[in-house]
Symmetry: C2
Subunit: 149 residues, 2 copies
């Protein structure tokens, strides 16, 4: 049960925007270079995030991307769900409707899938981009961000 690279790359890109929040737009190329992601591929991912309202763009020279909200207002869960869809281990627990299958009301495995789903979402919804930045800075108090790469 793996996340695709969409979620992985997307969160790395968002971290990059978060740690540079308030310092003007970052170009796609800058983000891709610093996070070792294919530029063209990241372009598609960031387009998805732009359409979902997580990032804003400025076109033209010196343009780039910034977070649409401050890092403490964006959770890991929001980012991953935009890129990967609902975080559910099986389709029948994407939402709580009992109508997804004729056994859903008394399916013993479905209870298990719901518990997994809820625990994943609880984790990702409780971590903000700001938390990630704080964690990073706590681990590297003496280094400037330039040395991150």
């Amino acid at each position: 049960m793996r996340l695709s690279t969409k979620g992985q790359y997307g969160l790395r890109a968002m971290f990059e925007l978060a740690i540079n929040y308030g310092e003007g737009p970052l170009s796609l190329k800058t983000i891709a270079d610093r996070q070792y992601i294919s530029e063209h591929y990241l372009e598609q991912l960031i387009a998805t995030m732009r359409k979902a309202g997580l990032v804003s763009s400025t076109r033209g020279a010196q343009g780039g991307y910034v977070l649409s909200r401050s890092p403490e207002e964006i959770t890991v869960g929001q980012v991953i769900r935009v890129l990967e869809g609902p975080l559910a281990p099986v389709e029948c627990v994407i939402d709580d409707e009992e109508s997804v299958c004729d056994r859903s009301g008394y399916c013993p495995t479905r209870i298990v899938w719901k518990k997994i789903r809820d625990s994943i979402n609880q984790v990702v919804d409780s971590i903000t981009l700001q938390d990630m930045v704080d964690d990073y800075r706590k681990m590297h108090p003496d280094e400037s961000y330039m040395f991150y790469i």
Copy 2:
């Protein structure tokens, strides 16, 4: 981030064996029919579980499969990991070695993946097949299992 049908079908099959535990072997066909799974496909999954020591088989007429241990000694986590591999949202947190990538020691996203991994495993390792049987019986105290199908 979905489980494949291997994990889903496998757990359904194991539930079937658990609720019939102590009553002799169940044939592949019986399990497949009751759980609406392709017989040939289930055969491959149950072969994996047999090799992993979760079920035992009896060949020949009147043969079939039984759990190798009692339902309270088999967790959902054991079943899913045998069929799906390690439950980790990304490869770099399958184990805790820092050597998987050159940034692993200070990668801010890796911390997130570890938290997701741990929360999933905590859930699945705390649920046994007996728990699933108990849940099922609690929901259907007045019905014999014959009506489950």
